[in-house]
Amino acid sequence: MLTMRRSEVRRVLVGAGWLGVAWLVTLPMTGVSRYVTHMAVIAGIYAILALGLFVVTGLTGQLSLGQAGAWGVGAYTSALLTTRLGWDFWYCLPAVVLVSLLVGIGLGLPSLKVSGLYLAMITVGFVEIARLVFLNWISLTGGPMGVINIPPPSVLGQHLYGPRAYYPLVVVFLALTILFVWRLTNSRVGVVLRTVADSEVAARSVGINTVYYKVLAFAISTCLGGIAGSLYAHYVTYIDPPAFSLAESIFLLIVIIVGGKSSLLGVVGAAILLTFGLEYLKALREYRMIVYGLMLLGCIIFLPKGVGGYLEELWQRLFAGADRAGRQTVRTG
């Protein structure tokens, strides 16, 4: 009969988790097809986008449907700078961050006056305006023809062309994003951002400038969105306006809610699984969104903290005693 202590079970599970991570990191070398690698690249980009949304919607509690717009702005900025001005991908990145920062401040400032669903409506407006600009400013963006021949980035003289070459780049960016958001969540700034979601009145009473932190959250979120956009543009080498529609924002919102608004790993997991899911449900054509709609509804009713949040809770309950005392000083995200 197999008897194991809780701490041993925990160690085995953690070990299995790291093995899984190692498998994901080395995915292109494990003999999977080019197609699966391509999907994994796209999933990684979606995970970065979702983590951006996690900061603004998960931590700060501001419902944002603007992430597709930030994604598009990042993609077009990077694409135009490389194709028109001949910039290198790596020089584009700071420019993308700067432009995204401005977009984020613009998107966050309405939170001075409006909140909740009204703020969400403004973010919807932003996505539509961005899409219409991409579509109609033909002299700059190429309009419906999009931007073609976006050069792939090069690292150490190697052009990262095709999924197998691009995958490590996305893994590095995703890892850095996870590290950043994880540090943010567990820092004082993370605590402050969550107070804004919890009670704005109480937050202001202890000296927290809630407007500043809402704008900050939006800015972080659009920066991550912009970086994801840049990664996307240089991967697919061709972008056009429909790629950055409101449907993408809604998909990301589903990712956040199914993954768990307070669970960083849940959001990353959901971004990856739902991206693959969407691909494998392609046979259902547009009906596949019904499946996602039902999933969303189910999560809101039965798992308000999302699948990730539920699993985290379960983990805590099972292994609370196995944790070293004093480690749970601050609830992790």
């Binding site: 950043f180 540090r183 943010l184 820092s187 004082r188 700034v189 605590v191 402050v192 969550r194 107070t195 979601a197 919890d198 009670s199 009145v201 109480a202 937050a203 202001r204 009473s205 202890v206 000296g207 927290i208 400038n209 809630t210 900050l216 749970q328 000083t329 601050v330 609830r331």
Partner: protein, 269 residues
């Protein structure tokens, strides 16, 4: 801003030193005059109480001092500086903290996180400094937060969600959160409402300790007369938005208008 460096100077015409001065403050909501030329002065390290029947404007007065409402007339001076109409977060930055009549905690965050949030004005909040693993501020601040919890007796509940605490513990947590900001002046809005008699005694002791041990000035809004009479040094009585009496507990207790407006009505009820 260290909490122990009050910059109070003599206020002209009063001959004394006061940390908080409210001059002829008035506010209306629609046609209702909620406060009408209310004035008060609070000396440093005093325990000053504001009492009055329901709807007499006590909480409105707190909302004006703490910056949540902008008064139609009058001014609020803190340490001799005009703070009228400053937004709440800047009022807190000056050293004025408040609690809420209907407890207002970060209910979905842990007890410790509530106190950590309370340290906001004292703490390192720059994004880069918070995220990069340099410096030991964060660990130090967590230690300080635990000491605040210790003071109100909640140190064993640090990792529980604030919303899951009992009513009395939530009131104490609000005080711990306020203390974390190292305040000069605390506005306590009915800190013993809904507590049982033994909890009320504990709360009274805690409030007295704030003044005596931590040298904090406390302004208290309270309905429970035994609490108010037991610990206040000076009392201001409001009725229908007007000051009807002020003075020591004895003076207020025997004031005919107070008996009529407040205590008398309680007896008759």
């Amino acid at each position: 801003m260290p909490a122990t460096a009050p910059r109070s100077g003599p206020i002209p015409g009063r001959g004394g030193v006061c940390v908080l001065q409210v001059n002829g403050v008035g506010i209306t909501f629609g046609g209702l005059v909620a406060l009408d030329s209310v004035s008060l002065e609070v000396r440093p390290q005093a325990l000053f109480s504001v009492i009055g029947p329901n709807g007499s404007g006590k909480t409105t007065l707190f909302n004006i001092i703490s910056g949540f409402y902008r008064p139609r007339a009058g001014q609020v001076l803190f340490d001799g500086n005009d703070i009228t109409g400053l937004p709440p977060h800047l009022v807190a930055r000056r050293g004025i903290y408040r609690t809420f009549q209907n407890i207002n905690l970060f209910a979905n965050m842990t007890v410790l996180e509530n106190v950590l949030a309370g340290q906001h004005c004292q703490a390192e909040t720059r994004l880069a400094r918070c995220i990069l693993p340099f410096g030991r501020n964060w660990a130090f601040e967590q230690q300080e937060a635990r000491e605040c919890l210790d003071r109100v007796g909640l140190h064993t509940r640090a990792s529980e969600l604030a919303g899951n605490l009992s009513y009395g513990d939530q009131r104490r947590l609000e005080i711990a959160r306020v203390l974390a900001g190292k305040p000069q002046l605390i506005l306590l809005d009915e800190p013993t409402a809904g507590l049982n008699p033994s909890e009320k005694t504990g709360a009274s002791k805690l409030i007295q300790g704030l003044v005596k041990d931590l040298k904090i000035t406390v302004v208290l809004v309270e309905h429970d007369m035994s609490v108010v009479m037991g610990i206040s040094e000076e009392i201001l009585v409001l009725n229908h938005g007007r000051v009807i009496a002020r003075g020591s507990t004895e003076e207020v207790r025997n004031h005919p208008q107070v008996i009529e407006a407040y205590l008398g009505r309680r007896k008759g009820a």
